[in-house]
Subunit: 203 residues, 2 copies
């Protein structure tokens, strides 16, 4: 069995990353989301080890010191989040392709530690379309929305750090594009050394 | 419009490259085969500029001297074949993704001149399966068949020079894999610089 891949997915808030990934996961049993560790309290319905690993500030701090995160964002006023290395490794060793939904800064950090990670940026068809989608959610005041749009511009400026660019205009196209990328990466020769030895069948 | 890609497809004789590529081309209007130049005479039904560019030995020699081939194989006893640079460039400039069906040596030469070429090796599910397929054709004597099998082993030894490995066991899977690779390569960020400038919409 081949070791699983690490797939980083980034994109601005409102682009529909969750929707694209959920549709993709429904078609592909080899994919799994990474489970993050967080210091915030569980919300109703959230399950330990499925939604998150819920840990204390002290535990989080200890994991940072032990270099046990692939990437993390500390915010001791509200809550901290991190991607535990051990969990990701366990999944990859089991042949699962692990998807990390993280921001541009986190992605850059993971790519340093895991140069073989595949990086995909999901972009809206335009900034105007993104603004419409954020307004359509209608869960935020104008100030929060403007902040998200400014952050989106900053993230979009770093698209060139990603290997692949998927535009989420029509959902099914975006899902198909994600599927193509993941399937193509699975077909990379360097990931299939045992296969091509086997293909020759000892001749 | 993005400049078209150059896609090198290799694989041993009998693996079904032609069948895979024809099925793929039927689904994808952006793909086009490269047209080779040859010094042999046209066979019935072959058309100038479609099947081949039919040229004289002297013309072939002149093109070699002018470095006008991406790759070529000279065989003045029988016939020579070459891939004309100008034709490939014209197609790529028109936004077409050009597929070259060439052997391992030719592929290595093209990759030197065009480092951005995408390289795909199509392998049989096993050497035994390849032998069965070649025998199934029943167009050759035992000696010719054994020669093809020896050549196949030599080609298979160089799979690691290719970026992607597609196994042609079930035709539809192989065609889907080729489609994934080509679609994924089209989504590479470096091929879509104008797109991501446009996505930001001047913000």
């Amino acid at each position: 069995m081949n070791r699983g891949m690490l797939i980083i997915v980034s994109g601005p808030s409102g682009v529909g990353k969750g929707t694209v990934c959920n549709a993709l996961f429904a078609q592909d049993a080899k994919l799994t989301f990474s489970v993050s560790a967080t210091t915030r309290a569980p919300r109703p319905g959230e399950k330990e080890g499925v939604s998150y690993f819920f840990i204390s500030d002290a535990e989080f701090q200890r994991m940072v010191e032990q270099d046990a995160f692939l990437e993390y964002a500390c915010n001791f006023n509200t809550s901290s989040y991190g991607t535990p290395k051990a969990y990701v490794e366990k999944m990859r060793d089991a042949g699962k392709d692990v998807v990390l939904d993280i921001d541009v800064k986190g992605a850059a950090n993971v790519k340093k530690v895991c140069p073989d990670a595949i990086t995909i940026f999901i972009a809206p068809p335009s900034m105007d379309a993104l603004e419409s989608r954020l307004r359509g959610r209608a869960t935020e005041n104008e100030e929060a929305l403007q902040k998200r749009l400014r952050e989106a511009v900053i993230e979009m400026d770093r698209i060139d750090e990603y290997e692949y660019l998927v535009v989420n205009d029509v959902l099914q196209t975006a899902v198909g594009d994600m599927h193509s990328i993941i399937n193509a990466e699975r077909l990379r020769t360097f990931r299939n050394v045992s296969l091509f030895n086997q293909l020759r069948g000892g001749r």
